[in-house]
Protein backbone atom coordinates (compact mmCIF):
# COMPACT_ATOMS: atom_id res chain seq x y z
CA UNK A 1 0.00 0.00 0.00
CA UNK A 2 1.02 3.62 -0.34
CA UNK A 3 0.67 6.58 1.99
CA UNK A 4 1.19 10.24 1.20
CA UNK A 5 3.79 11.94 3.39
CA UNK A 6 3.76 15.69 3.91
CA UNK A 7 6.41 17.43 5.98
CA UNK A 8 7.19 20.93 7.11
CA UNK A 9 10.08 23.19 7.94
CA UNK A 10 13.35 21.40 8.85
CA UNK A 11 11.79 17.98 8.28
CA UNK A 12 10.50 18.95 4.83
CA UNK A 13 14.03 19.99 3.90
CA UNK A 14 15.35 16.56 4.90
CA UNK A 15 12.70 14.79 2.83
CA UNK A 16 13.76 16.78 -0.25
CA UNK A 17 10.20 16.85 -1.55
CA UNK A 18 6.80 17.13 0.07
CA UNK A 19 4.30 15.65 -0.52
CA UNK A 20 5.92 12.34 -1.38
CA UNK A 21 4.58 8.80 -1.70
CA UNK A 22 5.83 6.03 0.63
CA UNK A 23 5.30 2.33 -0.08
CA UNK A 24 4.60 0.21 3.03
CA UNK A 25 3.51 -3.37 3.71
CA UNK A 26 -0.26 -3.72 4.09
CA UNK A 27 -1.28 -3.11 7.73
CA UNK A 28 1.83 -1.12 8.64
CA UNK A 29 1.69 1.20 11.64
CA UNK A 30 2.85 4.80 11.92
CA UNK A 31 6.07 3.70 13.63
CA UNK A 32 6.98 1.53 10.64
CA UNK A 33 6.38 4.43 8.29
CA UNK A 34 8.74 6.55 10.36
CA UNK A 35 11.40 3.83 10.37
CA UNK A 36 11.11 3.46 6.59
CA UNK A 37 11.60 7.21 6.23
CA UNK A 38 14.63 7.14 8.57
CA UNK A 39 16.23 4.48 6.39
CA UNK A 40 15.69 6.69 3.33
CA UNK A 41 16.74 9.90 5.14
CA UNK A 42 19.06 9.17 8.08
CA UNK A 43 19.07 12.84 9.13
CA UNK A 44 15.49 12.34 10.31
CA UNK A 45 16.86 10.47 13.31
CA UNK A 46 17.68 13.72 15.13
CA UNK A 47 13.99 14.70 14.92
CA UNK A 48 12.58 11.44 16.25
CA UNK A 49 11.70 12.76 19.69
CA UNK A 50 10.44 16.19 18.65
CA UNK A 51 8.27 15.47 15.60
CA UNK A 52 4.56 14.80 16.07
CA UNK A 53 2.77 12.82 13.39
CA UNK A 54 -0.74 13.44 12.13
CA UNK A 55 -2.74 10.84 10.23
CA UNK A 56 -5.34 12.48 8.00
CA UNK A 57 -5.10 15.70 9.99
CA UNK A 58 -5.27 14.21 13.51
CA UNK A 59 -2.25 13.64 15.80
CA UNK A 60 -1.69 9.92 16.37
CA UNK A 61 0.74 7.62 18.19
CA UNK A 62 3.34 5.38 16.55
CA UNK A 63 0.99 2.42 17.24
CA UNK A 64 -1.78 3.69 14.94
CA UNK A 65 -2.46 1.42 11.96
CA UNK A 66 -2.36 2.88 8.47
CA UNK A 67 -4.58 2.32 5.45
CA UNK A 68 -3.77 2.70 1.80
CA UNK A 69 -4.12 6.33 0.73
CA UNK A 70 -3.66 7.84 4.20
CA UNK A 71 -1.92 11.17 4.59
CA UNK A 72 0.86 11.29 7.17
CA UNK A 73 2.03 14.75 8.23
CA UNK A 74 5.39 15.18 9.98
CA UNK A 75 5.14 18.17 12.30
CA UNK A 76 8.24 19.61 13.99
CA UNK A 77 7.72 21.98 16.96
CA UNK A 78 5.68 24.95 15.76
CA UNK A 79 6.84 28.53 15.51
CA UNK A 80 4.15 30.67 13.95
CA UNK A 81 3.22 34.25 14.58
Amino acid sequence: MNVRVVAFASVREILESSPRSLALPRGARVGEAWSALERLFPALCAHRTSVRIARNGRIVSLEESLLDGDELALLPPVGGG
Binding site: P76, V78, G80, G81
Partner: protein, 140 residues
Protein backbone atom coordinates in the same frame (compact mmCIF):
# COMPACT_ATOMS: atom_id res chain seq x y z
CA UNK B 1 -19.13 32.11 12.00
CA UNK B 2 -17.75 33.87 8.93
CA UNK B 3 -15.25 31.32 7.76
CA UNK B 4 -13.47 33.78 5.50
CA UNK B 5 -12.20 35.51 8.63
CA UNK B 6 -9.93 32.53 9.34
CA UNK B 7 -7.34 32.04 6.66
CA UNK B 8 -3.81 31.45 5.50
CA UNK B 9 -2.65 33.84 2.79
CA UNK B 10 0.38 33.78 0.53
CA UNK B 11 2.61 36.80 1.06
CA UNK B 12 2.14 39.58 3.62
CA UNK B 13 -1.20 40.00 5.38
CA UNK B 14 -3.09 43.15 4.43
CA UNK B 15 -4.49 44.34 7.77
CA UNK B 16 -7.50 45.74 5.93
CA UNK B 17 -8.72 42.16 5.54
CA UNK B 18 -9.82 42.57 9.16
CA UNK B 19 -12.24 45.39 8.38
CA UNK B 20 -14.99 42.87 7.59
CA UNK B 21 -15.09 42.18 11.31
CA UNK B 22 -16.73 45.46 12.26
CA UNK B 23 -20.46 45.57 12.97
CA UNK B 24 -22.84 48.17 14.32
CA UNK B 25 -23.29 46.30 17.57
CA UNK B 26 -19.64 46.08 18.55
CA UNK B 27 -18.01 49.02 20.20
CA UNK B 28 -14.48 47.75 20.73
CA UNK B 29 -12.11 46.21 18.20
CA UNK B 30 -8.67 45.08 19.32
CA UNK B 31 -6.16 44.10 16.65
CA UNK B 32 -2.79 42.45 16.95
CA UNK B 33 -0.34 42.66 14.05
CA UNK B 34 2.81 40.58 14.14
CA UNK B 35 5.40 42.34 12.03
CA UNK B 36 8.71 40.95 10.74
CA UNK B 37 11.47 42.53 12.84
CA UNK B 38 14.96 43.40 11.62
CA UNK B 39 16.58 41.56 14.53
CA UNK B 40 16.18 38.11 16.05
CA UNK B 41 15.69 37.48 19.74
CA UNK B 42 19.37 36.56 19.98
CA UNK B 43 20.40 39.82 18.31
CA UNK B 44 21.20 38.73 14.75
CA UNK B 45 20.37 41.01 11.80
CA UNK B 46 17.34 39.55 10.02
CA UNK B 47 16.53 40.30 6.38
CA UNK B 48 13.27 38.37 6.25
CA UNK B 49 11.24 35.38 7.36
CA UNK B 50 9.80 32.39 5.54
CA UNK B 51 6.61 30.77 6.84
CA UNK B 52 5.14 27.37 6.12
CA UNK B 53 1.77 26.07 7.31
CA UNK B 54 -0.09 22.78 7.35
CA UNK B 55 -2.84 24.84 5.87
CA UNK B 56 -6.23 23.20 6.40
CA UNK B 57 -5.40 22.02 9.95
CA UNK B 58 -3.99 25.48 10.74
CA UNK B 59 -7.24 27.16 9.69
CA UNK B 60 -9.23 24.62 11.70
CA UNK B 61 -7.02 25.45 14.70
CA UNK B 62 -7.80 29.16 14.23
CA UNK B 63 -11.51 28.34 14.35
CA UNK B 64 -11.05 26.16 17.42
CA UNK B 65 -9.15 28.94 19.20
CA UNK B 66 -11.89 31.43 18.30
CA UNK B 67 -14.50 29.09 19.75
CA UNK B 68 -12.51 28.79 22.97
CA UNK B 69 -12.22 32.57 23.18
CA UNK B 70 -16.00 32.93 22.85
CA UNK B 71 -16.50 30.35 25.57
CA UNK B 72 -14.13 32.20 27.89
CA UNK B 73 -14.82 35.83 27.16
CA UNK B 74 -18.41 35.93 25.92
CA UNK B 75 -19.87 37.33 22.74
CA UNK B 76 -16.84 38.25 20.66
CA UNK B 77 -16.13 38.02 16.94
CA UNK B 78 -12.64 37.01 15.86
CA UNK B 79 -10.60 37.10 12.70
CA UNK B 80 -7.24 35.34 12.35
CA UNK B 81 -5.11 35.57 9.21
CA UNK B 82 -1.57 34.22 8.88
CA UNK B 83 0.88 34.61 6.01
CA UNK B 84 2.96 31.88 4.38
CA UNK B 85 5.89 32.33 2.01
CA UNK B 86 8.69 34.85 2.03
CA UNK B 87 8.23 38.02 4.04
CA UNK B 88 10.49 41.06 4.16
CA UNK B 89 11.24 43.08 7.28
CA UNK B 90 8.22 45.23 8.08
CA UNK B 91 5.69 42.86 6.51
CA UNK B 92 2.70 41.69 8.54
CA UNK B 93 3.02 37.95 9.25
CA UNK B 94 -0.11 37.52 11.34
CA UNK B 95 -3.19 39.59 12.10
CA UNK B 96 -5.71 38.85 14.83
CA UNK B 97 -8.76 41.00 15.50
CA UNK B 98 -11.42 40.69 18.17
CA UNK B 99 -14.62 42.73 18.23
CA UNK B 100 -16.95 42.86 21.22
CA UNK B 101 -19.55 45.11 22.72
CA UNK B 102 -17.06 46.24 25.37
CA UNK B 103 -13.33 46.54 25.15
CA UNK B 104 -12.33 44.25 27.98
CA UNK B 105 -13.59 41.11 26.22
CA UNK B 106 -12.01 42.27 22.96
CA UNK B 107 -8.59 42.70 24.60
CA UNK B 108 -8.80 39.36 26.39
CA UNK B 109 -9.95 37.46 23.31
CA UNK B 110 -7.31 38.99 21.02
CA UNK B 111 -4.52 38.17 23.43
CA UNK B 112 -5.78 34.65 24.02
CA UNK B 113 -6.00 34.02 20.28
CA UNK B 114 -2.47 35.15 19.42
CA UNK B 115 -0.97 33.35 22.43
CA UNK B 116 -2.71 30.08 21.51
CA UNK B 117 -1.96 30.48 17.81
CA UNK B 118 1.75 30.74 18.56
CA UNK B 119 1.59 27.78 20.89
CA UNK B 120 -0.55 25.40 18.83
CA UNK B 121 -1.08 26.29 15.18
CA UNK B 122 0.90 24.13 12.73
CA UNK B 123 2.94 26.99 11.30
CA UNK B 124 6.73 27.23 11.01
CA UNK B 125 9.07 30.16 10.69
CA UNK B 126 12.56 30.39 9.22
CA UNK B 127 14.70 33.41 9.94
CA UNK B 128 16.90 34.58 7.08
CA UNK B 129 20.02 36.45 8.24
CA UNK B 130 22.11 39.20 6.69
CA UNK B 131 24.99 36.78 5.99
CA UNK B 132 22.86 34.46 3.84
CA UNK B 133 22.29 31.82 6.53
CA UNK B 134 18.85 30.84 7.71
CA UNK B 135 17.38 28.87 10.58
CA UNK B 136 14.01 27.34 11.49
CA UNK B 137 12.73 28.74 14.77
CA UNK B 138 10.34 27.09 17.13
CA UNK B 139 8.46 28.63 20.01
CA UNK B 140 9.67 25.91 22.36
Amino acid sequence: MDRELFSIVRGPVDPRCLEALASDAQGGIVTFLGVVRNRSDDGRAVVGLSYEAYEAPAVREFETIAGEARARFGEVRLAIVHAVGELDVGAVAVAVAAAAEHRSAAFDACRYAIDELKRRAPIWKKERYAGGESRWKSNE
